[in-house]
């Protein structure tokens, strides 16, 4: 039956039974298996034991400031897209202790708690989130300083990615070159085809896990169909995006024109659009919390009443808070306009200077989970639009000459 070993880069087919077997094998190998689950009116990552726990038949309707689940009998296991969380929660948790100090006899004993994270296998990770993971790797592992806790968790991660068959109107991974096709960084990648899954082997670790699973070599047309899923989706996103251009009525597909975006934004740091968006922006920080790449964290001192037991706790932070840029002389970024500018220019422009990549993967979470539906693609387009106006072009030409 089973051909057992499948080399890296090869494809094979499994049914739902084998998907369950995959979970079981991962668990037996010591992984905590997590994946999409329907909880609290959304699809979020949760512990996963049985494939019945997967949100089969559910779709998420997303738009600026709005997310609703909908049942659709035709929908498969993974036809929802991304929810409010990302892998960030598991690798770079919202709160953790970095240092513990105890004072005994006037002497401080300081030590960093050692963490021994349980390996995690995540099932159902999308292309955008894989790209986000690669970006966080650069931030937290790529520089002269490495975050040891992230590193420990990251090393023990097993990724079962999934190719999207559907895009929400908030998705714009195609314009960030971060999807919809899963291209790299996975151990296994699934594509749902006719209630079966075509599996691509991404790493030797992935091949090893598949070794004990009763898979079948895919039929020729199954691989084609699987590959068509992502090519079709990309084409569909592009065509929807074209149709929605300038047509407020058409279902919108977000798109971000990234050409020269670095210079575009940094040359417009005093654009009136920042003030305009600040009229709507709540500076609540939701966009940064849901962003899979945002890494800002505050380190807070937590002390007992005696002051003898002290911890340094790290918690997710946001550049939209006053504390974020606080110095003894006061908060540097006092206005909401300056905070929005900081976020957007960092994400789309200065991130490139810092880490050689954009900080955005086009997952659209910041659009969906903004309580008032502020849309970064619209903000960039507005800045670009006024830039590209005849007058601006002329002015630039004059300056250039």
């Amino acid at each position: 039956m089973s051909a057992k070993h499948a080399p890296v880069g090869s494809f094979l087919t499994i049914g739902t039974e084998q998907l369950q077997a995959l979970m079981d094998v991962l668990k037996a190998a010591g992984y905590r298996t997590i994946g999409p689950r329907l909880m609290d009116s959304a699809i979020v990552f949760g512990d996963l034991d049985k494939i019945e726990q997967l949100p089969v038949g559910y779709l998420d309707r997303q738009d600026g400031g709005s997310y609703r689940l909908e049942h659709d009998d035709a929908a498969g296991y993974f036809d929802h897209v991304v929810g409010p969380q990302s892998l960030k929660r598991f690798l770079y948790p919202p709160g953790e202790t970095l240092l513990e100090s105890v004072r005994t006899n006037g002497q401080w004993q300081m030590k960093a708690p050692t963490i021994e994270p349980k390996p995690i296998a995540v099932i159902g990770l999308r292309a955008c989130d894989l790209h986000a993971l690669a970006i966080q790797d650069k931030v937290l592992l790529g520089g002269p300083y490495v975050d040891p806790n992230y590193e420990a968790r990251r090393e023990n991660l097993f990724i079962v990615a999934v190719n999207c068959r559907r895009a929400a109107p908030t998705c714009f991974c195609h314009s960030m070159n971060a999807g919809p096709a899963v291209d790299d960084g996975f151990d296994l990648a699934l594509t749902e085809v006719n209630r079966n899954f075509v599996v691509e082997i991404g790493t030797p670790k992935g091949a090893e896990i598949m070794f004990d699973i009763d898979w079948l070599p895919p039929a020729r047309n199954e691989i084609d169909e699987a590959q068509a899923v992502v090519t079709n989706l990309k084409a569909e996103m592009e065509s929807r995006e074209r149709r929605s251009h300038g047509n407020r009525e058409a279902p919108r597909q977000r798109y971000l024109n990234t050409s020269s975006i670095h210079d575009l934004l940094l040359e417009n740091l005093e654009h009136h659009r920042w003030t305009e968006v600040a009229r709507r922006c709540l500076a609540c920080g939701n966009c940064t919390m849901v962003c899979p790449t945002c890494f800002c964290a505050a380190v807070e001192e937590v002390s007992d009443l005696s002051g003898e037991h002290v911890r340094r706790e790290r918690a997710w932070d946001s550049c939209f808070t006053a504390e974020h840029s606080y110095m003894n002389t006061g908060t540097v970024r006092k206005s909401t306009a300056s905070r929005y500018r900081q976020w957007l220019t960092h994400k789309l422009a200065t991130w490139q200077d810092q880490f050689g990549t954009s900080g955005c993967v086009g997952c659209g979470r910041c659009i969906t989970w903004c309580p008032v539906g502020i849309d970064l693609t619209e903000e960039v387009a507005a800045i670009r639009g006024s830039e590209d106006s005849a007058g601006a072009k002329e002015a630039r030409a004059v300056l250039a000459s």
């Binding site: 006037g106 002497q107 940094l266 740091l269 505050a298 001192e301 002390s303 550049c319 300056s338």
Partner: protein
């Protein structure tokens, strides 16, 4: 260009090294210099820093504060920080006594490019506590006086009582450092300049092509220093400034100290003016 000090990789970047306060010297009202000694002799032995770098001083229960190092980089075993008492951590520090323990992480950040400025005339323009991170640069110059041409210190503070390190000016002058001092508000005994630091440029005859500027102080002061320097045709690439932001992890991991594309903690605090010029005149950057 600013250079990063080669540092051995650490597996526990958040753990501070335990140290003790060896001496406390009141400098001016609200400013003290703290000499620190590491508890671990090996650490004391191996610790070194470059002029312009800073340490994170840790007072458990209060937190960490980024404080520039103000001692002579060549004098091993001596580590001083001149601190203005302003925030949570520094206020707690002000209540400490000689012998009290604290934690030190560092050194962090970029340095004044003393090596690449050899052969230049150097103008050090600073205000208030901004002289503290430049003192190691002055020490370096004194240690290698022949490597540099004319050296001028332009220093300003609010009142004569707020001038740092006044007892050292004569020593510096003896070693041919021109010291020009201005205060905003003089007193009965004040015979020097009244005004802000940039004004001290007015009477200066510089050889702009050979001059480098090192500046630290309030951002508004730095802006005008740069303005004056550029007006005198100093090459922008020879202007260096030390910036301040909310430096919280010092490793470029927490995101708080960003200034445009930079993490001030690791790309700075010392920047070439060219790097940061486009962010200088922006509100709330």
């Amino acid at each position: 260009m600013a250079t990063m000090l080669e540092k051995p990789p650490t597996t526990e970047p958040w753990v501070a090294h335990s140290a003790r306060i060896a001496d406390i010297r009141p400098e001016v009202p609200g400013v003290f210099t703290y000499d620190l000694e590491f508890d671990d002799p090996a650490m004391a032995e191996s610790y070194c820093f470059l002029p312009g770098q800073f340490n994170m001083l840790y007072l458990p229960g209060f937190g960490e504060s980024a404080i520039s190092i103000s001692s002579d980089p060549q004098e091993r075993g001596k580590l001083s920080h001149t601190v203005r008492i302003a925030g949570n951590v520094t206020q707690a520090l002000a209540r400490k006594q000689v012998g009290d323990p604290l934690g030190v992480r560092g050194p962090f950040g970029s340095d004044w490019p003393m090596e690449s400025l050899r052969g230049h005339d150097i103008v050090i323009a600073c205000g208030g506590i901004g002289l503290a991170p430049l003192r190691p640069a002055i020490c370096h110059i004194l240690n290698h006086r022949d490597d540099y041409g004319r050296v001028i210190l332009l220093y300003g503070s609010r009142t004569p009582n707020d001038l740092l390190y006044t007892q050292e000016y004569d020593t510096w002058r003896d070693r041919h450092i021109e010291v020009e001092v201005a205060v905003d508000i003089g007193d009965a005994n004040w015979r020097g300049h009244i005004g802000v630091v940039p004004v001290l440029f007015y009477r200066l005859r510089l050889k702009p092509q050979e001059t480098a500027i090192l500046s630290c102080g309030p951002e508004i002061m730095i802006r005008f220093v740069v303005f004056e320097a550029l007006a005198r045709k100093v090459k922008p690439e020879n202007i260096y400034v030390s910036m301040e932001r909310n430096m919280s992890c010092a490793m470029g991991l927490c995101g708080h100290c960003q200034l445009g594309p930079f993490f001030v903690c690791k790309d700075g605090p010392v920047f070439n003016f060219r790097q940061v010029e486009s962010y200088f005149n922006l509100e709330d950057m």
